[in-house]
């Protein structure tokens, strides 16, 4: 489901640490020990901690320590591997039935065994149309039914073959039925019933949904290595290591070392940095300016390490592909030649980022490394523009062209959402550059929701927006397929290419990873040639982490993984015995 912590924050083998003996020959690599706390920074309270109804990154990161799923991903190779399941599922030949066997040794944090009943309950809770979880539900739309084969085996029926179905089903957050539905109100309801008419649902379902929506905002429970301890509104969320965690001592399951995680709410980044320096925080994300100017002292370096990594998202300039000016791919290409993206990364992102040329994350195998990045080249751009027929015929300083029998000047507007300094700088940089070449740009800053509705209704010439990139197998269908250009779909710029449509469709049905890579390489080549967006850059994040932590490592896909962290016995700062509440 959501690419929550299951992927980044939690789980998975820290083989190097857990398995290696304390001393192997001359090379000493101390074994991790438990103890000490982690004080991490959050800018605001998580929205809520109900695993299904929350929808913000803050909640997901915290819940990732508490709730687990059937499958997970190795944080380094990103391979799917079993967590609460015994193995990856058995998939039927027609790719429409998935059967999972569930581990018999897993239990929830209250000690109750985790069985197929809990998995079945979890999918029912997601599918229940009255549960306030529309986002989660959309991913499971294709699940037509689910049944228990025996106490520890569950079978899912799927509407159509799709290679990400395994990831989707494996990602179901397994919630304890006895805790989230104590009266077992969903007992007699099937997934099939829940797929039907909501009006016909039994009273029990309504009662369950009402209880579930309201009763679990601040008291999550699951089977993960950390238990929810306390949430003081506006101050901190506290998790404690579960000493009875079912995975303890199992080499195939990730171990947790730190006794507590405290997520401290500090609304103000200056105060957060001061807190970090004074020891009231152990780790935080640094703002670019803080990185450049406020964290260079010897004292800081003595106490903290800084880690740089890419955040998997990108910013782009979207051209309305239906617009009389931008219909022509030569014009769009010229725009990319006129975007000095290297300079933007340097001045706008303080060099904390990388220029990109396509929608696929550059750490993915699907990414096409052979495509050359389009350089900043005004000469080439002007050639393309004049080739496309743009000339200043009336000498008013602005290029013009006869389009559809009417002379139009090269004037357009760039829209973006207010409050986003990066996007504003991009827009102003473009305005400045294009002005030199006879193109008049106006820049328009709009409130987020107003901006978004303009974008969805395609009321723009050009706009600046961002997408998150998938660190696992991408699926670009929603953004690039021509069907998504209608009905306010995510293909906001109305990009239409029949070959791309075919690729996107085939890709979803292709279960051979190698062939999928080939398909997406071709897709990237087409996008590169057509430049429907001017792809801009992917930013970097910087985290400062106290040096007393060991096992701090930037993952190949980016990001840190506090689950692996531990503190040598001599260096531990906090002890859980000192506070007994």
């Amino acid at each position: 489901m959501r690419q929550r912590g299951s992927l980044l924050a939690v789980m998975l083998c820290v083989v190097f640490a857990a398995v290696l003996p304390e001393r192997s020959g001359g090379q000493a690599r101390p074994a991790p020990v438990t103890g000490d706390w982690l004080l991490a920074h959050i800018l605001s309270d998580p929205e809520q901690l109900n695993p299904l109804t929350s929808n913000d990154a803050g909640s997901s990161a915290i819940l990732g320590y508490i709730v687990q799923s059937l499958l997970t991903r190795d944080p380094r190779s990103l391979e799917l591997k079993p967590l609460l399941a015994e193995a990856r599922p058995v998939i039927s030949a027609d790719k429409l039935t998935y059967t999972f066997k569930i581990r018999r040794d897993a239990h929830f944090q209250d000690g109750r065994k985790l069985t197929g009943e809990d998995v079945l309950f979890s999918i029912k809770a997601i599918k229940c149309p009255l549960v306030n979880a529309p986002f989660a539900r959309v991913y499971y739309e294709s699940v037509t039914d689910a049944q228990l084969v025996d106490e520890y085996t569950i079978r899912f029926n799927i509407k159509e073959p799709y290679f990400l179905n395994e990831t989707m089903l494996g990602g179901i957050d397994v919630l304890p039925r006895h805790y989230y539905d104590p009266q077992n109100l969903l007992k007699d309801v099937t997934v099939k019933d829940l797929n039907g008419d909501p009006a016909k649902l039994a009273d029990n379902v309504k009662r369950f949904a009402d209880h579930f929506n309201k009763g679990y905002s601040r008291n999550p429970m699951g089977s993960g290595p950390y238990k929810f301890q306390a949430w003081k509104t506006g101050q901190e969320v506290e998790l404690v290591r579960d000493p009875k965690y079912w995975g303890i001592g199992k080499p195939e399951v990730d171990q947790a070392y730190l006794d507590r995680h405290k997520y401290r709410v500090i609304n103000n980044v200056d105060a957060a940095l001061t807190s970090l320096k004074s020891g009231a925080l152990d780790t935080m994300n640094l703002q670019p300016l803080q990185h450049m100017q406020q964290t260079g002292t010897d004292r800081f370096k003595q106490d903290f390490d800084k880690h740089e990594y890419f955040s998997p998202n990108y910013t782009y300039l979207g051209w309305n592909n239906d617009h009389p000016i931008f219909r022509d791919k030569r014009v769009r290409k010229a725009m990319t030649y006129l975007a000095n993206r290297k300079q933007m990364v340097k001045t706008i992102l303080f060099n904390l980022g990388q220029v990109i040329d396509g929608p696929i994350y550059f750490h993915r195998p699907e990414y096409d490394k052979t495509l050359a990045s389009i350089p900043y080249d005004p000469k080439k751009a002007l050639e393309l523009l004049s080739e496309a027929g743009w000339k200043d015929t009336d000498s008013d300083g602005v290029l013009d062209k006869i389009v559809d029998g009417k002379k139009i000047p090269f004037r357009f507007e760039i829209k973006f959402n207010s409050g986003n300094a990066t996007r504003k700088s991009v827009a102003l940089t473009m305005q400045d550059e294009l002005k030199k070449h006879g193109i008049a740009v106006t820049v328009r800053e709009l409130d987020w929701t107003v901006f978004l509705s303009d974008v969805k209704e395609r009321k723009f010439d050009a706009m600046i927006l961002g997408w998150q990139m998938s660190v696992t197998e991408p699926d670009a269908y929603q953004v690039w397929h021509s069907t998504q250009a209608a009905n306010k779909g995510s293909n906001h710029i109305a990009y239409k290419n029949s070959r791309v449509d075919k690729i996107l469709e085939d890709y979803r049905r292709e279960f051979d990873a190698k062939k999928r890579v080939e398909l997406y390489r071709e897709f990237q080549k087409i996008l590169h040639d057509e430049q429907p967006y001017t792809f801009l850059f992917t930013p970097k994040s910087i985290s400062a982490v106290s040096r007393r932590f060991r096992g701090v490592e930037v993952l190949p896909i980016g990001g840190l993984r506090p689950l692996d962290w531990w503190v040598p016995a001599g260096a531990q700062k906090y002890s859980s015995k000192s506070t007994s509440n």
Binding site: N132, N268, D270, K277, G466, S470
Partner: protein, 342 residues
């Protein structure tokens, strides 16, 4: 007096309804859709790091569901009527964010904000009244001019800046470590601590926020005090008091001070709504989980039930404050009459 009270009280009702209608309209006419904001990943997420490609497909469906659940698909007058109806049963509704009753959210944060504001009001009066008296009795002296200048310099300093400076320089960054950089209690704070230790820890945390909340108030209030006193000092009865040989101290503190406190009473009543609001910036800078912060975040997320509840409570307190100040004024100054006299 009874009739006057009832009359005043009845007048509050249409005023109150007017206030709620205007607040409701302003809130709704401002751009922004809570469902869309929530779909964008909440407040901080609003497009900041992009939207998830996969999620985007689900947005419209989610938004439609949320809008229906929040009742935002109904016409505005009906939404208002529903809200008003609920208000009569003292039901402020549930927050859009986490489906929790708004009343609980307010109750949870009320003590902190009231504590902060009561301390601050106390501090303002404690400093400003003596300052005003000094300025009035030594008017146009060097001392008066220096304190006045100082008070106005403080008044002019934005709290955002001064608060941030205080955190950077006094709270354990690269400079001094005299105060904590925010929050209410220490990391290892425990309810098992002895009372004095808990009190010390809390005061240590409250010191800077209270100071930041107060310093700008010194100027205004001391000026009121000063001008009130100067006005009285010019009156004939002061001359009389002096000429009959009363010591200056008795003249100032017994005769002049009492009379010049009347405007202070009026101002005090205006402070009532300030007890629950007015500290948005300070609460945000010092990460204090109070009502100001709640309101600020609710406005950004367009969490209408929370915003309306806060509006309503402060409107009520303002109206009560005005009523109270009218009554108090009549108590301290018998010349002010209740209503028409026969």
């Amino acid at each position: 007096m009874g009739a006057y009270l009832i009359q005043r009280f009845l007048l509050l009702i249409p005023t109150f309804i007017g206030v709620t209608i205007i607040s409701f309209l302003i809130m709704r006419l401002a751009p922004g859709d809570p469902a869309e904001l929530r779909a964008g990943g909440g407040l901080r997420g609003a497009g900041e790091s992009g939207i998830s490609t996969e999620k985007r497909g689900a947005v419209d469906q989610a938004v439609a569901q949320w809008r229906a659940q929040y009742g935002l698909d109904k016409p505005l007058p009906i939404q208002y009527a529903i809200w008003m109806k609920n208000l009569f049963t003292l039901n402020f509704g549930e927050s859009y964010k986490d489906n929790q009753p708004v009343v609980d959210k307010i109750r949870e944060r009320l003590p902190v904000t009231v504590k902060l504001n009561v301390l601050s009001i106390f501090l303002v009066y404690l400093v400003a009244i003596p300052l005003g008296i000094y300025s009035a009795t030594h008017s146009y002296s060097i001392g008066d001019q220096v304190t006045t200048l100082f008070a106005f310099v403080l008044f002019a300093l934005p709290v955002v800046w001064l608060g941030t400076m205080a955190i950077v320089f006094l709270c354990g960054g690269d400079f001094f470590f005299l105060f904590p950089p925010g929050g209410l209690t220490s990391i290892d704070y425990s309810s098992d601590w002895p009372l004095w230790q808990r009190l010390t820890d809390q005061s240590w945390h409250l010191f800077l926020p209270v100071l930041m909340l107060s310093y700008a108030g010194f100027a205004g209030l001391s000026r009121y005090m000063r001008s009130g006193m100067l006005e009285q000092l010019r009156l004939d009865f002061v001359q009389t008091a002096r000429s009959k040989g009363l010591p200056e101290r008795v003249v100032i503190y017994k005769h002049v001070l009492r009379n010049s406190l009347i405007p202070m009473v009026t101002i005090l009543a205006g402070i009532l709504p300030g007890l629950i609001g007015g500290s948005v910036i300070v609460e945000t800078i010092f990460s204090i989980p109070g009502l100001g912060q709640l309101g600020y975040e609710a406005v950004l997320a367009r969490d209408f039930p929370v915003v309306m509840a806060l509006f309503t409570v402060s409107a009520l307190l303002t109206l009560l404050g005005i009523l109270l100040s009218d009554l108090l004024l009549a108590v301290v100054d018998p010349r002010i009459a209740f209503g028409r006299r026969n």
